[in-house]
Structure formats: C-alpha cells, structure tokens
C-alpha cells in the first residue's frame, strides 16, 4: 500500500488544530526541509496516523485516537506557519 500525502489528513488536522492546515508550511526538525503540510508522506493504515518528511522520511506527526481523544505528537516539526486567511 503506497503512502498518501497530507491532503488525506486534512480533516483530522482540522479537527486537531481547529482550522485548515494542509496549506500551512512546515519545517522538518531532522533535515530542515520546508514545504506545505499537504506534501507530507502519510501512512493511514496503521494503529495511528503517521506523517513523515518527504525529503528524509523522519517522523513529523503522530496522531493516535484512543478513548475518544486524539494523542498528538508534533515534535518532528521544527516550525509550522499558517497564513491567516481571515
């Protein structure tokens, strides 16, 4: 099963952040690559959701949904910028 991209977790990220995030710009804490969240390599078929850096494969985001709550780890992201559309 091939990986998808950050578009596939647009709804989940909107749930977690309270706003659309796929157009936000993220910087990988491991290799420094910068790009839109939409381009993350995303693995959905797992016990949780894992998004990785397209350049170096480092884990950027892990989201596990357990007992009605989202456990979110963003520590793989050094920086996350979102242009406020409002």
């Amino acid at each position: 099963m091939e990986a998808l991209d950050g578009n596939a977790i647009g709804g989940l990220l909107h749930e977690v952040f309270g706003t659309e995030m796929t157009a936000a710009t993220a910087t990988c804490a491991c290799c420094g690559a910068t790009g839109p969240v939409a381009l993350f390599t995303v693995f959905l078929r797992a016990p949780g959701t894992v998004a990785r850096c397209r350049a170096c494969s480092a884990v950027l985001i892990v989201i596990v949904r357990a007992k009605g709550m989202n456990c979110v780890d963003l520590s793989g992201i050094a920086r996350l910028d979102r242009l406020d559309a409002a």
Binding site: E2, N7, H14, E15, T22
Partner: protein, 248 residues
Amino acid sequence: MAGTAVRRRLTWQVADVAAVCDETATVRTIELQTPDWAGHRAGQHVDVRLTAEDGYTAERSYSIASAPGEPVAITVQRLANGEVSPYLTSELRAGDELEMRGPIGGYFVWDGDDATRPLLLAAGGSGIVPFRSILRHRARSGAVVPVRLLYSVRSLADVIYRGELDQYTGSVSVTYALTRQAPPGWTGHRGRVDAPLLADVAWPVSREPVAYVCGPTAFVETVAEGLVRIGYPPDRVKTERFGGPGGS
C-alpha cells in the same frame, strides 16, 4: 483570497442522499443535500463516515465533484477489495443518510483568481474528480484561463464524465492516455504518461503555467517528477495522492 468563508469548526453533519448516478460500471456519483453547508472551493474534499449497527465505523475521504455554488456531489470508485466503496457504489441509495464533514483542504484548490497562468490538469483514474469541480467552476465563473487536461485511464470505457469532457473545445483541451486498451484506429497516446507525452501536452514553462496532478500515488509521483524535470517550479506543481487498489 476568493470565497474564504469565516473560519468554522469542522463538524460531522448528516446529509441526505438526493440522487445517485452511475458514471461507469464501477464509478458512481452521489449527490447530497447538506443542511449546513457554507460552500466550498474547487479541489476540496469531504470526509465520509459510515456506522454499522454495532457501532463499528469506517471513514474515507472523497473529492467534491461539483463546483462551488452547486450542491455537494462526490464521485466514488468501487475498489475490488474495498470496505466502504462497494457500499457507496452499490448499496447506498436516494433517501439514505450519509454522515460527512467538510469542505476540507486549502492547498489543492483552484479559485481562478490568477487569470495569467494557464492550467495543466493531470488526472489518473479517479483523480479526475476534483478537476471536474475546477472545470465547472471555471465555466460558471466565466474565467478564460486556458486549460489542458491530461487524463490517464485504462480504456475509454473507464473515462469518468466522458459526456461532459467531450463537450469541451477551444480553450479547454482534453488528451487521453489509454494504458491498457485502445479502440481500433486510436491515434491518441497508448500506455502510461511518459516524458514524451508530457513534453507534447504540458504547457511550455515559458507560459508560467500551474499544474495540478491527482490520482494514485505512483501516477502522481511519475507525473509530478516529469513536470519538474521539464522545468516546472515545484511550488507550481500541486499534488493530491489517492489510495489505489489494495487500500480501501
């Protein structure tokens, strides 16, 4: 940015299935009546959630096939081993309820504000769905930006929205790449999209085009890479990868 709605929470809502329409033997469009819809942008998608009687749930994402201003419609391709798509393409009928949330997405969207950039749309299989929204939005808004659509499918029988696509002339040009089977006398491209076909069909870089590529991951990677190789700046090649067979 055109048509930006007030920032709202993304909540699940219950839509009614207004109509279902078979596009091909394995593809169906589902028109929805959504009680609380704030509108959408071309290229966005919705998440759909099914719940079985024992509480088991399954969620999937589907691109919106209709233009901003039209009622929400999604087009679903039945995957052989699928869990959700066989239900949506065979069982679901008008009058049923469908839980969904959206619209979702802010990267893979086209609003038509930039009239200077010709549009290249490259679709693999069901990747055509968001492009129907884009093309209809373009027509409804009276935009004149020229479009080249490159649509890769197994055979002509697998073309989704054939009737609609056949109506485009002039400033929207449609090129098919048939990967498995071509009718006798076919003078179009046979086989997968490759570098020569891209060189032939894609807007020259000097026109400063913007490209959208959508479909199975392998298709998207090949085409996106190919466009960057002929000089498209990576940030003007927008991609959306769908799960292919063997997924849901």
